[in-house]
């Protein structure tokens, strides 16, 4: 029964993947045209747009009433800003919104910090500890919220692990299988930004880079800033492979903030039908 899960065997079930159809996943200047997009998304394995938080843990498939929207992109792509703005907008309309951040499970986080501080993490344990953290959030935060009918917004998702871990030398097929228990997002957005733009945003504002953040464990360069540049460049390349593979919806992150936000809202709007708005003003 695990077949048909779109994270399981990338490439093997491409025909069932709605988003791997030609055109999907590439940047489309006039973004989601509601009607045709929805129709297209409903064909084949309707996991991406219609599953609404369908989750696969082992062989169990859970259909839930909630919606799951996730954002991806390299550091400095502006995805967190966009997600925060989206949350404000949704809350303003009375929708129940739950935020889930990468690497935030309380117990697991302490192990991750310990490993990072002591430079103890290898590509393998780096990958596994992040999967542990993610699994805890899936089980105790994301899936219960989806079952309760909430709109879950996740800042980074499995694709972050795919991009980072593979850059660190972890086999691509293995890490994709590792995350098979993940809930399938209703929509996944990739904030595409030129490397130098992202680097400028980060490096101008934050002088002190952390060891793993800069990919110093890969020994790309002795200089931490140079290492960070190279590491981010490689992650960007990985993302570009992931975008067509999983049909991430691309947002041009070099555009003005307001314009990106407008596109984001327009894209998710069709998926909000049927969600209760308990917080809405009468």
């Amino acid at each position: 029964m695990s077949a048909g899960y779109d994270l399981q065997e990338p490439g093997h079930d491409a025909t069932e993947h709605p988003a791997s159809q030609p055109g999907a996943g590439q940047h489309d200047p006039d973004m989601p045209q509601e009607a045709p997009k929805r129709k297209r998304a409903r064909r084949g394995a309707t996991v991406v747009s219609r599953a609404e938080g369908r989750s696969l843990y082992g062989s169990r498939v859970i259909e839930t009433p909630g919606r799951l929207f996730i954002v991806e992109g390299i550091d400095g792509s502006g995805k967190s800003t966009q997600l925060t703005l989206l949350a404000q907008w949704l809350r303003g309309q009375g929708y129940p919104v739950v935020f889930s951040e990468w690497n935030s499970s309380p117990i697991v986080k302490s192990t991750t910090s310990r490993g990072k501080k002591r430079k103890q993490l290898t590509p393998l344990t780096f990958s596994l500890i992040h999967a542990t953290d993610f699994s805890d959030r899936i089980e105790r935060e994301i899936v219960p919220s989806l079952k309760a009918g909430a709109i879950v917004l996740a800042d980074r998702y499995v694709y972050t692990a795919f991009a980072r871990d593979v850059t660190r030398g972890v086999p691509s097929r293995w890490v994709r299988s590792l995350y098979r228990f993940a809930a399938v997002p209703t929509m996944a957005f990739y904030f595409r930004v030129p490397l130098d733009v992202a680097l400028k945003r980060i490096l101008s504002g934050r002088p002190r880079l952390k060891w793993y953040e800069a990919g110093m464990d890969l020994e790309l360069d002795d200089d931490i800033e140079e290492s960070y540049r190279m590491f981010q460049g490689r992650i960007l390349d990985e993302y570009e492979r992931i975008v067509p593979e999983y049909g991430l919806h691309v947002i041009d992150a070099a555009q003005p903030v307001e314009l990106q936000q407008r596109m984001l809202r327009r894209a998710i709007k069709p998926h909000l039908a049927g969600i209760a708005q308990p917080g809405a003003n009468p």
Partner: protein
């Protein structure tokens, strides 16, 4: 060419040809007497002049504290527990087992991926998925499986001070009280270990025999293994 390979794509960045030594696993369910046998085997091998190292579940520097904390509060998702154990195992594999093998030691491990796979399956993980997670593990030279039925396990557990919460699967739970849950949980764990035993070719020992008989049996089997095979490949000179 090394005899050491992984079940899957292997450990990122490791050249398995650098490894020599032996990797010997003692498997079996909770309370079956594994640690006693590992200790006896270690003494025996050291008397024969072998350099012996040892590891066991949740003994990693990285994850053991977190796992213990999570166990106390039962505040971690079931699947997250599976992956926490996988993290612990990976840390021990890379930072205890691999260095010991690189140095030509006999590495004795008190349980390996098989116990972790069975407890995950009993807790609802997809068997193919959890095996795939652990596919980076090195294939051991031998797995000795101390096998016992749950009925045979009960007197041992009572002698050791009673039923443990986790060893009784009370996080699930699988019965009305510790005893019921223990019986159901351990029956399932043993069943999964039996399946893995045939799938991965364990050497099975009857754990209901006395400690001395099992120790002698193990000592003989391991001695045979060590004398019939050279340590897996000589360490290669750098470059």
């Amino acid at each position: 060419m090394s005899r050491f390979t992984s079940y899957g794509p292997g450990i990122p960045g490791l050249d398995a040809a650098e490894l020599s030594g032996w990797l010997i696993v003692i498997e079996g369910t909770d309370g079956v007497g594994r640690s006693t046998q590992v200790a006896l085997l270690r003494t025996h091998l050291e008397q024969l002049g072998y350099a012996v190292a040892e590891t066991g579940l949740s003994r990693s520097d990285l994850a053991s504290r977190g796992i213990n904390r999570a166990k106390q509060g039962n505040t971690l998702g079931a699947n997250a527990f599976n992956l926490y154990y996988a993290t612990d195992f990976a840390d021990r594999l890379e930072r205890q087992i691999v260095p010991a093998l690189r140095a030509g030691f006999v590495m004795l491990t008190d349980r390996y991926i098989y116990s972790l796979i069975s407890r995950a399956i009993v807790r609802g993980a997809d068997p193919e998925w959890i095996k795939d997670v652990y596919s980076f593990a090195l294939k051991p030279d031998a797995v000795f499986y101390l096998r016992i039925d749950v009925e045979g396990l009960v007197p041992r557990v009572l002698a050791q001070g009673g039923f443990d919460y986790w060893e009784s699967g009370m996080d699930l739970p699988m019965g009305e009280d510790l005893y019921d849950s223990f019986m159901n949980y351990q029956r399932r764990v043993v069943q999964e270990l039996d399946t893995l035993a045939s799938e991965f070719g364990f050497e099975t020992l009857d754990a209901t025999r006395s400690v001395e008989v099992n120790a002698a049996d193990l000592a003989q089997r391991v001695s045979m293994l060590l004398t019939s095979s050279e340590p897996q490949a000589e360490p290669r000179p750098a470059g």
